[in-house]
Amino acid sequence: MVLWLLVAVPVMVGVALAVAGRRADRLAPAVAVGTGTVVLALALWAAMARPAVSAPLLDRLPVGLAVDGLSAVMVVTVAAVLMAVLVFSASEFGARFFGLVLLFAGAMLVTVTATTMTALLMSWEVMGATSYALIGFWWRDENRVASGGVAFLTTRTADLGLYLAAGALLAGGSGGLALADLPGIGSGWRDVAAAGLVVAALGKSAQLPFSFWLSRAMAGPSPVSALLHSATMVAAGAYLLLRVQPLLSATGWAAVVVAWVGAVTALVLGAVAVVQRDLKQLLAASTCSQVGFMVLAAGAGGVAAGTGQLVAHAATKSLLFLCAGVWLTALGTKDLHELRGAGRRYPVVGISFGIGALALAGVPPLSIWFTKDAVLSSALHSSAALYAVGLAAAAMSGLYAGRALFLLWSPSDREFDVERRVPRLQQWPLPVLAAGAAVLGVVFGLGDSRWWEAVLSAALALVAVGLAAVATRGAADVVDGRSPVLSAWLHLDALAHKGVVALTVALAGWLARFDDRVVDGGVRVASGLGGAVARVADARVDWSVDRFVQWVAGVTRGLGRSARRPQTGQLHHYYAQAVVALAVLALLVVVFGRG
């Protein structure tokens, strides 16, 4: 029952707020924060009580929810980040926003507690749709709405994998579509299910090659980004892979693929992050990169390590996005160069951001240093190459985190055009999250990594941060604009547009013209028998049922005319026709009619 409450409370309050709309704007922040508190309490309780519930949905396919070790961590993380985001947003947004956020969080809670495919798929898709609404929250700007569309469509493309997995699971012999059944189904279907799940997870987590949607998702409000990039949505993919890790290892190939995709994403998107000039874009790319570590962990079998990374990253990234949001609203920009010195201007925000950035860089003893090392160690278990790539990616995080940090803290003498006070409510969550980003790693520990690995990565992180400090010294920013390809997120967006969207639209247009020409052509045919006959005589005429129908109509028209031709009004014609017809009939019967 409590578990039902945990997911139902945010969803129902969310729907109520969204439907109420403007009328509830004044009450909404309070209601939302109150709900957030309740959710947090319920999450904590659930994490301890580990309940499991189930309700019938489809024919012998129930909806099942349960909290186990993995999801206990997740529900608490989600609830905590949600709480932070709600408090942060309380001063700025109305009912619709809170409604959507709560709905979104509710969907995420279902996702992480789902034990059956039905529950997972439903929440998974609702999360995608809600993210669309949140990213395109400022709907008067068509660009933002389009960004939401890109996010939704990209993730939905990947979600098809989940549908595939569900079907495969059933076809493979799992009567109830329980996720736990996955490793045990027939081997052919197991591969299909694994492939589907991997695609779905990679899409949601914005791993290569789906990463571009996350860049577009920056069009949404900053709190949305904070939520999206930390404990929900993007994390959901990684979570799913961790959840089905037994399946991945059971197939043999899936684990390897996942591990490598994670590692490569961590490295490449890390590099992308390094050259970004827009703070939010930098953070977005870093998200892909960091989630890449979680994916890597799932592929390499380090479930605990991945989970730790997830939680630590959630705290860190939500913090960083909220900080970025503060500056964006206060200073009206997210350009790193224009933000030079912003950290000094708003010390609370600046210091919180600093802690977060250092954590992100993997500087010991902050949280991500722990968790990343745990991940890397599990990678080393499976392959040295994987470890090396992971290490390189870790260096990248040092570079970009350091760059952001130093740019924001470097002294600047310029005045900001717009300057506003930061509301209290927006400041409160920041230190809390910063604390989390700093200390959470201790909870998870270093996993089973050996001492030299930890030292190596710490050194690497410090070196990278140092390099970044050098690179951004003074007014210079040596990496700025160095690699257009990396700046533009490898042109993945354009590639997807050209390769898939444009192709589909062209095909659709062609088909529609075909369909229209069928209709219009038919009308033309009907307008004159001559045309019809000509077209029929034309061997190149493209056949279609509709045109056939029209052709029949045209021919019938002609036949109708000829059928009336005997009716000349002249009696002797009638006579002759009747006599000849009777004679022909007699001949026919005599020749063919042997009774």
Partner: protein
Amino acid sequence: MDENPLALLPEILLAVAAVIGLLLGSYLPKHRQWLVRLLAAAACAAGLVVTVVAWSGEDMAVFGETYMVDVATNATRVVVLVAVLLVLGLAGDPVRGTMRESEFVVLLLLAALGSVLLAGSNDLMLLASGYLLASIPLYALAGFAKDAPGTEAALKFYLMGALLGVTMLAGLVVLFGVGGATQYTALSDGLASASRVAVAVGAIAVLAGLLFKAGAAPAHFWVPDVTEGAKPVVAAFITTVPKIGAVVAIYRFVAVPLAAARVDWALMIAIIAAVTMTLGNLAAFFQDNVRRLLAYSTISQVGYLLVGVAAAGRSDLALPSVLLYLGGYAVTNLGAFAVVCALPHAATLADYRGLVRRHRWLAVSLVVLLLGLVGTPPTAVFAGKLTVFTAAFDAGLGWLVVLAAVNTVASVFYYLRWIGPAVRGEEASAAPEVSRWAVRTAYATAAVSVLLGVLAGSLLGVLGG
């Protein structure tokens, strides 16, 4: 000898009514000739009562077995008598108080009698005599108005009838020559061993006359011209009543004397049916004159009826289905003509534009009746069509059923060309004058055509299906 005049009571009633009607008419003042109509109606009603009361499943051959009183004859009597009653109703306005009202009624009765006799004939000679009796009054009725189109219609009607009547006589002679008799039962024995060619030629020659009466190809040429040229009420009668007798006569002709002959008469009828319905439908397609359109529609309907005839002897359902269809067709077709009669000045489809605005229920009746002619459930023609198609399928004439179905679809087109303007709520064309008797008849037929469809089951039971 079994001259049992009582068995022929309905026929006798008609004949007597005709004679008395003529006499009565000679002594009645002009505006009181409605008494003759009343007499005729009474005779029809009496005939109906007698038929229904004396209805039995048993077949009875009378007058040297030249005449059969069986289900087919009884059904024909009922349908014809009802049709005559309806036509008498239709004739209310156009004929009342005219100079030759009595003669009109008398000719009506005689033609109806001829039609019944055609249906009951169990002898080729009686068939030929019936043909004469069923034709002669119609020639006069066609030219009744004695205006230019009427007389032209009568002329064409008569000349077609004369030629095909003689053809029929020739066929009769040939069949008699090879079969040794004209009475069906005896003829059937004779034809069983007769030359195939001679039987085929003779049968087709005899059929020529019956096809003329039925208005089927290739003897259908008179139908559109007469329907357009004659008065609407006459056209209604001519396209309905003789067909009933003729179709039953064709049925009897193929089912009894030809049954054992070595001729594939089913193929023969099937070809005729196929050509008739196709030709009728095609010709109706772009017809703008409503009466000609209806005329072609009746031609195609005969084609469907012949589909059932082609199944004679090979499906138990053949006869009941044909009789059911005949009943439905008669009522529905008369109804359609009743609408035409109700609006004497509306000659083309365009004249029906916006009918629903002015005469809501007339428009509704028209829609019901025309959809009935299409064969839309639950009207009588649908039930008839359904059972007829089923019978033909049963008899192994699948191709013919498919063709008939295709034709049915095609026919929807031209009926819709009529319905469309009538029900579209556009500005109505010039206010048409309405004949009240015809309007009532239209309502009644629309109702009956639906009612018959609903009762089709029990009717089929009565008809032996």
